[in-house]
């Protein structure tokens, strides 16, 4: 019986709770809350909704081994007429700049560098129509719809060209910038010394976006 009492006393002595100070408790609370914020901040953010409202059309060099879709040119070989069509949400820039100001009022979100923002176009593209503003050859005159002679490409691979439907799918998919772009190539040879194109994009809300390219000087016509 005496041995049992001794053992009980020893156990009571060994369990000794440390009561944290107020400062310590605040620090623990802050540590836990920031830890949780860090954990959840590292998950990919949900795609941001964008609304296409602008179209740009530039000439690109596709005469060499690789398509140079990052350079704007105004002189193009007659068999290598290529354009880059960019459709974008210009209002996102205001949101982004405002978002930066709002962030500075609070703790900025911790985010891993490898996580890119994703953008989801709300209004989908349903049609891309291309017209020539100069005569192309004896059969295709100024004002003609040349959409059937246009093929599409992804400027960063060597695969074969795609149809307009693939290009529309790409523009309607999730983007990594507040806009999408496709490269357009003209299958026919241009027999004129000048070329200019008009592009019309119809969205599923009935909105029509359009633009006119620069006037290109054609070599080897």
């Amino acid at each position: 019986m005496r041995n049992f009492q001794t053992l009980k006393n020893m156990k009571m002595k060994s369990v000794k709770w440390i009561k944290p100070s107020l400062l310590m408790r605040v620090m623990i609370l802050l540590f836990l809350s920031f830890g949780m914020k860090l954990f959840f901040s590292c998950t990919p953010p949900p795609p941001v909704d964008i609304f296409y409202n602008s179209v740009r059309l530039i000439g690109i060099d596709n005469s060499g081994q690789f398509m140079r879709s990052y350079e704007n040119i105004d002189t193009i070989y007659s068999n290598a007429m290529a354009l880059k069509l960019t459709i974008l949400d210009t209002s996102y820039n205001y949101y982004a700049s405002l978002n930066g100001i709002m962030k500075s009022l609070s703790f900025s979100t911790a985010m891993a560098l490898s996580i890119n923002e994703a953008f989801n176009p709300v209004n989908k593209v349903v049609q891309i129509k291309v017209q020539t503003l100069f005569d192309v050859d004896d059969d295709i005159k100024a004002g003609d719809d040349i959409s059937i002679h246009i093929l599409y490409a992804d400027g960063y691979d060597f695969e074969l060209y795609e149809s307009v439907n693939s290009a529309i799918s790409r523009l309607n998919g999730t983007q990594n910038t507040p806009g999408g772009s496709v490269e357009m190539v003209f299958k026919k040879s241009i027999k004129n010394t000048k070329a200019q194109f008009y592009v019309e994009i119809t969205l599923d809300n009935g909105q029509v976006l359009s633009c006119v390219s620069d006037t290109f000087t054609i070599i080897g016509a």
């Binding site: 690789f66 068999n79 093929l151 060597f158 060209y161 080897g220």
Partner: protein, 282 residues
């Protein structure tokens, strides 16, 4: 002439009968050797002929071959001989396996399978030369590591089989085929938007070959249960080969494609191989 040959054959047979039966039934062997391939090239080709680009130089013995062998008896009449073949890269990805049936002391009959490796390189040159108006998008050298699988029957005649020296001649007769390979070339026309893809898919086509050879074994010394000796193997491989394939050409879009089966002309293929090594029997 025929009579003298018969007399010679009888003498050999009597000589074999007079010898004591071989008691060793397991053998490990190691040999190192070299081989010389020769595949004559055809100069004018309408279509790509992969065998024009086999890595071979008739002037030199270019391949190093290491053989690791294990021979053992399955029954009193049947034995197996497994050889693992290592090329210059020392990867044991080639083999020669044979099961032998011993008819008598003079003749064996074998059924085997062989897998060998060879390299076909620089065939992208054909694309460059045949399409001068087009860029070849991938400028890198192309190479196939080609495995050829064969199945063969082989009669073997044990010419001399004394305790110290054995000489065997054999002639493998079989069918062999290269295993399937695939390669794609991306082309872009100069000063034009046109893009084009050439896709080649080779087919499995078994073609006949013969492989006569001589196998010599000289015993160096022996203990109570073990014998150690040297071996010399010489093989000559001869056959007519071609690599048939399916060619797909796509222009502008993947929907616009043309498929064609291509059968290039047959090349005379010859290979001389010499190996020297040692064996341990127990």
């Amino acid at each position: 002439m025929i009579n003298s040959l018969l007399i010679l054959l009888m003498l050999v047979c009597f000589g074999l009968k007079a010898q004591t039966p071989k008691i060793k039934n397991r053998e490990l062997s190691f040999s190192i050797g070299t081989s010389n391939h020769n595949v004559p090239k055809f100069t004018s080709n309408q279509d790509l002929d992969f065998l024009n680009y086999v890595d071979c130089d008739p002037e030199y013995f270019e391949y190093l071959i290491v053989k690791l062998g294990y021979k053992f008896d399955l029954t009193s009449k049947i034995s197996a001989d497994i050889k693992l073949l290592l090329m210059d890269d020392l990867v044991p990805d080639n083999y020669d396996i044979i099961a032998k049936y011993h008819f008598n002391n003079l003749i064996d009959f074998g059924l085997g399978s062989i897998l060998t490796k060879s390299y076909i390189s620089n065939f992208e040159e054909y694309q460059r030369q045949s399409l001068p108006d087009y860029h070849l998008v991938d400028d890198n050298m192309q190479q196939f590591k080609c495995y050829e699988i064969g199945f063969y029957l082989t009669p073997m005649v044990k010419l001399i089989q004394s305790e110290w020296f054995q000489a065997t001649i054999k002639c493998d007769m079989g069918m062999a085929s290269y295993l399937k390979k695939e390669v794609t070339f991306y082309h872009k026309k100069r000063l034009s938007n046109e893009r084009m893809i050439y896709n080649y898919k080779t087919k499995t086509t078994f073609q006949p070959y013969i492989k006569p050879g001589v196998d010599l074994q000289l015993q160096a010394f022996k203990t109570k249960n073990t014998a150690v000796g040297f071996s010399l193997i010489s093989i000559f491989h001869y056959g007519k080969k071609s690599i048939k394939y399916e060619r797909t050409i796509q222009k502008w879009t993947s929907q616009n494609q043309v498929n064609e089966p291509i059968s290039p002309p047959k090349h005379t293929y010859s290979k001389l191989e010499i190996n020297f090594g040692f064996y341990v029997q127990w």
